[in-house]
């Protein structure tokens, strides 16, 4: 049984710290290249060791939840593209599944399989971007970290090209809608997907070679150790939770889309440190490649959007009730808590709360950083893979 160091109290009073110590308060961010956006951490240092860390999010708070209260359900999808801008596909799916549950809409099988494929492709693209920026954080632009980023962006562009073929957009797709998808699979798309998968697969082996690099190991092994019980209590999900040795993945445990047709193998690593999170993500990329291959063979015919396209808003106006739907995005469980407006509100939701996996991930820095050196901040923050658009919304 592995023992973990005692849990730190993030709210302890820094005034009570050893008065003899040479304390220094250091502000990191909000404009710092390795905070992955605009995140601010206030660090209290004793020498070069961190004794307390306080996180300050909110520098990108765009008021999405308020904005959703004035838009109709159909208008909300493009807004949702924008808050986790590294994985817009899965964001759209999260919110549209909540609408479908509220309204009781059926999604045709073809759209379900297509959504699964898109989600898995998006997972690969998102993890590739993470890998590039993570090594950039560790290595620095001058130190050679940028070279891996150039490679991962090469592969990411291939996947974005696939999405562009399907939807016409590189980035903010707006391709899901309540009850199905807007864009049907164009001719030749499956062949293009297969070609991209074949191109990416051998390159993943090259990325595995990072584990042979001593510098990489020294910088990630036993850094940012997150014990399993703390991970659960903090509400971690996705690769962060699985990197702490907990076997939990909504794709397998509470299947949605077409995940019940395939057999998802969940990558778990009980290292609990930054290296474990890296391993989990690389293994997930392989698994996603396999899943896409398998799903491509089982795309059924038929319509892509429900038989009753939403022509009038009457259907929405009647929608009442409160639902919660969570799906597994590349970063973890992205949930939508939705309070339907009923007839009082017209066609807009009364209240829409997003449950962002990244918010929980960055909240963990207050527990992970104390005891580490200053240079480990970027490693720990990078390994949690926060997207500030999603943290702040």
């Amino acid at each position: 049984m592995r023992t973990f160091p005692a849990r730190v109290d993030p709210h302890f009073d820094i005034e009570e710290y050893d008065p003899e110590a040479d304390l220094m308060a250091l502000n990191m961010g909000p404009q710092h290249p390795s905070t992955h956006g605009v995140f601010r951490i206030k660090l209290f240092l004793d020498g070069e060791t961190i004794v307390k860390a306080v996180g300050y999010p909110g520098y990108l708070h765009r008021g999405v939840e308020k904005l959703c209260e004035k838009l109709t359900y159909v208008q909300i999808t493009p807004i949702f593209d924008k808050h986790d801008y590294v994985a817009p596909m899965t964001n759209e799916q999260a919110v549209n599944m909540a609408f479908e549950k509220l309204l009781g809409l059926e999604v045709p099988m073809r759209a379900r399989v297509l959504r699964t494929i898109l989600a898995e492709l998006q997972r690969i693209a998102s993890h590739l971007l993470w890998l590039g920026t993570f090594t950039l954080d560790i290595g620095g632009t001058i130190g050679g970290g940028a070279s891996l980023m150039m490679y991962t962006f090469r592969e990411r562009e291939m996947i974005l090209d696939l999405f562009e073929m399907l939807t016409g957009c590189r980035f903010h797709y707006n391709t899901h809608s309540p009850g199905g998808n807007r864009h049907d699979i164009p001719e030749g798309w499956e062949t293009a997907v297969k070609a991209v998968l074949d191109a990416i697969e051998p390159r993943l082996d090259e990325y595995d070679a990072l584990c042979d690099n001593d510098i990489f190991l020294v910088r990630t092994k036993d850094i940012g150790v997150l014990p399993p019980d703390l991970a659960l209590e903090l509400g971690q999900t996705g690769p962060v939770l699985r990197g702490s040795g907990i076997d939990h993945d909504l794709r397998r445990d509470a299947p949605y889309h077409a995940y019940d047709l395939v057999n998802v193998k969940v990558a778990v690593d009980d290292g609990c440190d930054c290296l474990a999170r890296y391993r989990v993500r690389v293994a997930e990329m392989r698994e996603s490649l396999r899943l896409v291959r398998e799903l491509l063979t089982m795309i059924p015919g038929g319509p892509i959007i429900g038989s009753k396209p939403i022509k009038s808003l009457v259907q929405f106006k009647a929608a009442k009730g409160q639902v919660y739907v969570g799906i597994e995005t590349p970063r973890g469980e992205l949930g939508t808590y939705l309070i339907g407006g009923g007839d009082q509100r017209g066609a807009a939701p009364y209240r829409l709360k997003i449950r962002p996996p990244s918010l929980h991930a960055v909240a963990a820095v207050e527990y992970l950083l104390p005891g580490h050196m200053l240079s480990d901040v970027v490693t720990v923050l990078g390994s949690l893979d926060p997207i500030m658009g999603e943290v702040d919304r």
Binding site: V323, Y324, Y350
Partner: protein, 160 residues
């Protein structure tokens, strides 16, 4: 025995779970309810969602006296999840007329930032939370933007 039936033995819940929305429990049972769920295996903290219900004039039926104004209220919904194969969520709400709800921080450390966010945006105070500061807006911000009486069309002052 389903989790709802287990809970019904200890708390006075309606016979059947309500259709399409989470069950409402009294606010003084909130923490005990969460504790019971955590013991029953719902160990993953998912989310908390506070909503503001202003006092409104309900629609009058034709030719009748308009009904009285509703009272202002806040609803706080909490969602927990069980981990592993067959994972499911459980959600419940509390409805209060004063925006004060006990915190779940001592049970779930993940509630820390989520509850601060709800305080910031909706103005529900979580009692006994160790650090009830604003999370998203600047510290000196006025008002709670997600309240229904906070207008949507509010452009900020120019900065130049």
């Amino acid at each position: 025995m389903s989790i709802y039936e287990q809970l019904r033995e200890r708390f006075d819940l309606p016979e059947e779970p309500p259709e399409g929305e989470p069950v409402v429990i009294p606010v003084d049972q909130h923490v005990a309810f969460a504790t019971a769920l955590k013991e029953a295996g719902f160990t993953l903290y998912v989310t908390v969602c506070a909503a503001h219900f202003p006092s409104v004039q309900p629609k009058a039926k034709k030719g009748e006296e308009p009904p009285p104004m509703t009272t202002e209220a806040w609803e706080v919904a909490t969602v927990l999840r069980s981990v592993g194969t067959g994972s499911e969520t459980f959600a419940w709400r509390v409805r209060v007329e004063r925006p004060v709800v006990p915190t779940l921080y001592s049970l779930f450390a993940g509630a820390d930032w989520q509850e601060r966010e709800q305080y910031d945006l909706v103005g529900v105070v979580f009692e006994n939370h160790p650090d009830m500061r604003r999370l998203m807006m600047p510290e000196d911000w006025d008002g709670h933007p997600l309240r229904k009486d906070y207008a949507i069309d509010t452009r900020v002052a120019p900065w130049r």
